[in-house]
């Protein structure tokens, strides 16, 4: 009987505490405490996340032959540089100088941005990365997150003062407007699939699309400029009885290895 009372008493206290905390959080009273705590924890998290990445890196290196890995990295770097150059030349050719405000982006490839570090992944959804920058650095929901000078990896889905959450393009709930650089600038929508791949949908059947074509952001969404590279087409799936065809994309960035990103905050 005493046991039951003890359990009941403690449970009621904790439940009351949870309800109060949730209430204070939603009215904003808890924000200063949370922000202070996050600021204090951030350096510790940097160290812990780097340690975890280090362990993962060590583990992965041991499984691969070092020569093949480094040669592969050199070739990938070259492919990335050539892809960026190629994509930029195509954009220059297609745009009209006097009518576009965003020519500055194409001329010197500079956009207002904030560099951020990945300090954690969400426990329930590993496709959500937690960054160490937030509204204090002018980051807001919907801002694109890029890596390696122009490869978009995701979008900001929620922000606090000193941190924000980025949902990767490979997540099932990710959706972004995109254009294929195939001469016809075919427009479609890019969705994630189970955290593993990216697929572009709603490509009209009559559009010419082939493997190797580069897919970029179309600029149709509010916060996302045109020209950020999403990936290249790996495989095209057509079916005569469907209105649209689909294309599987390969990202040009290893999402498992990045720790430093930029958030474009126009």
């Amino acid at each position: 009987m005493t046991e039951q009372k003890g359990i009941k008493r403690h449970s009621i206290i904790v439940l009351a505490a949870v309800v109060l905390l949730v209430f204070f959080h939603f009215i904003g009273a808890l924000k200063p405490v949370e922000n202070l705590a996050i600021r204090i924890f951030s350096p510790v998290q940097n160290i812990l996340f780097s340690t975890g990445n280090g362990i993962k890196g060590f583990y992965q290196d041991r499984l691969q032959r070092r020569n093949l890995v480094s040669e592969n990295e050199i070739l990938k770097d070259q492919i990335q540089k050539l892809t960026i150059e190629n994509s930029q030349l195509k954009i220059f050719r297609d745009e009209n100088d006097s009518l576009r405000k965003l020519m500055g982006f194409y001329e010197d490839n500079k956009l207002p941005h904030t560099t951020a570090r990945i300090i954690a992944k969400d426990t329930a959804n590993p496709n959500i990365y937690i960054l160490n920058r937030g509204t204090r650095d002018n980051i807001k929901n919907g801002d694109p997150v890029v890596a390696d000078e122009g490869f978009i990896i995701g979008k900001i889905i929620s922000t606090d003062q000193d941190n924000s959450k980025c949902m990767l393009l490979t997540d099932n709930q990710s959706l972004i407007a995109a254009t294929i650089q195939n001469g016809a600038n075919t427009v479609g929508a890019v969705e994630g699939e189970y955290g593993l791949s990216i697929i572009m949908k709603y490509i009209p059947q009559n559009e010419e699309v082939k493997e190797g074509d580069i897919v970029i952001t179309s600029g149709l969404e509010n916060n996302i400029p045109k020209g950020l590279i999403i990936g290249h087409i790996e495989k095209v799936q057509t079916s005569q009885d469907q209105l649209f065809k689909e294309a599987y994309l390969a990202p040009l960035v290893n999402l498992e290895k990045i720790s430093l990103v930029s958030v474009i905050n126009q």
Partner: protein, 178 residues
Amino acid sequence: MVKTAIKIITIILLALLQISLVSALPFPLNNILIYIILLVIFIMLSNIDFSFIFLVLGFGIVLDMYSPYPFGMYTLALFLTTLSLNFLYQKMFSSISVISMATSGVLCIVLYNFYFTLLAYFAFLLNITSVSTSLDIIFFKNLFWQIMINLLILVGIHIIFYKKFQSLFITIKKENVF
């Protein structure tokens, strides 16, 4: 006072370990759930005194601070898991054997995922959040590896600390474990 402060700092450090270190580890090690392991151990050792439930509160708050889900979801899910597991443990087990620890571990993980998914689903339905969970093959694959990895750790802890557990189980009466 100092003892309480040390306990609070320990909870926070363990929560940060879970969020930042464990999540960065390679698969399947990133499925380790520190708070579940601690919960199972404390329920088995503290089946008379329930004050360890404050551990749940501390862990949950830190997890909620870094979560894209509505604030309080992790804490509520952990709280419900603790109550359910404690109730089941009281009714089903009377010893601290490896079987009871393993069964409690599996039950704890399944219950936690059930409560969390349910809460996330309702929050999405009520438009409180735009982030939802889905019961797809990835979910069940993660659940499988969560059970395997954490079960391995619990059984390992039980084997290593068996004698200590026995003496704690016998001697603890009204004393606070946490």
